[in-house]
Subunit: 179 residues, 2 copies
DNA sequence: AAACAATTAGTACGTCTGTCCTGTTAGTTT
DNA sequence: AAACTAACAGGACAGACGTACTAATTGTTT
């Protein structure tokens, strides 16, 4: 049988990771500290240092965890996507930019972290995997698919920053060039 | 006539901004502190706090300054670009990813900062302006042009992270879909 | 029940941080 | 020359930080 202490520990580990994501949504990666995360989770500081010896370890874990989480969510959406992919793809982007805006921004901040740590390349690449799958669902041409993945990244980024507001019709119009 | 003290002050201001960019290239935005910047510039701490009262002010100034700097450089390249735009565009991207890799990464970190401060939206948008111009040089269709701008952002980002290595031929092949 | 292990709480230490304050230098104006 | 001011240096302060250490708590094994 499972050790009850360990399952509780794993639960708290997840609590700490979600708390970390919450902190990042609110204050950015810069706002992450053992104390801030502990406060967010309603937990003692020692508990965070127990599960994640260093801050770096915490951030790395948060990145990989967020990547898995996003992959799982996107995977669901991929399965539901069939009839009118352009419209549904647009709705997905809108979802990321409106209802999940903070989370998406947090993901991009973590995403960029990977550029400085080779150990995270794999996790960051996994991030793109479900997107690539969606793209291949949209068009069979592999070149157009990878172009679409890049464009999705760019559109999300630019809209997050507010340099270019998101517009549903504009976006679906763009997609017609990639069928 | 100009005040000699002020012109020296402005020079030091620029020195501090380039030092800030250098620190960001080396250690990321997270590594920026008054002391780190002062050390990089070989200057006393008080000098940085004199020119930029708060750290935030320093980062904001660094962002807008970097944006202007990049815009100026891209503007030059736009003028030289004529004969074979696809190839030259690919060379530009390669330039950003190889010879200017650290700087490009720094720019993206600052770029993302704008998402949390509405005051920076304008500066971030200015960042896209020369890119847009290049895109319109490449194709007359405005939709394809904005698609290209987004794709450029995505490709740069993904290559910086190392999730997708840059390949010259692949890239020029992608561009054919956007003529 | 007793020995043990996983987890949590409280706390303390040294370091680095942002920022302010005081004095000093150098250039400008009158 | 004297008053003034922009620019700079050095230092000091309180606070937040990462992290290690010790004890207490809780669950498991024997």
């Amino acid at each position: 049988m499972q050790d009850g202490r360990r399952v509780r520990g794993q639960l708290r580990r997840v609590e700490l990771l979600t708390a970390t994501l919450a902190v990042i949504e609110r204050a950015g990666v810069a706002g992450v500290s053992h104390r801030a995360v502990a406060a967010e989770a309603g937990v003692s500081v020692a508990s965070t240092t127990y599960h994640f010896a260093s801050l770096d370890e915490l951030l790395v874990a948060a990145l990989t965890w967020a990547a898995e989480d996003l992959a799982a969510e996107l995977h669901e959406r991929v399965n539901e996507m069939g009839a009118r992919p352009a419209d549904e793809l647009a709705r997905l982007i809108e979802h990321c930019l409106v209802y999940r805006r903070g989370r998406t921004l947090a993901e991009y901040e973590l995403y960029l972290m990977a550029a400085r740590r080779p150990a995270l390349r794999e996790a960051a690449a996994a991030w793109l995997e479900p997107l690539t799958q969606i793209a291949r669902n949209f068009t069979t041409d592999p070149q157009k698919a990878s172009l679409l993945v890049a464009a999705l990244d760019g559109i999300l980024l630019q809209s997050l920053i507010g340099a270019r507001p998101y517009n549903h019709n504009d976006f679906t119009a763009l997609l017609t060039h990639l069928r």
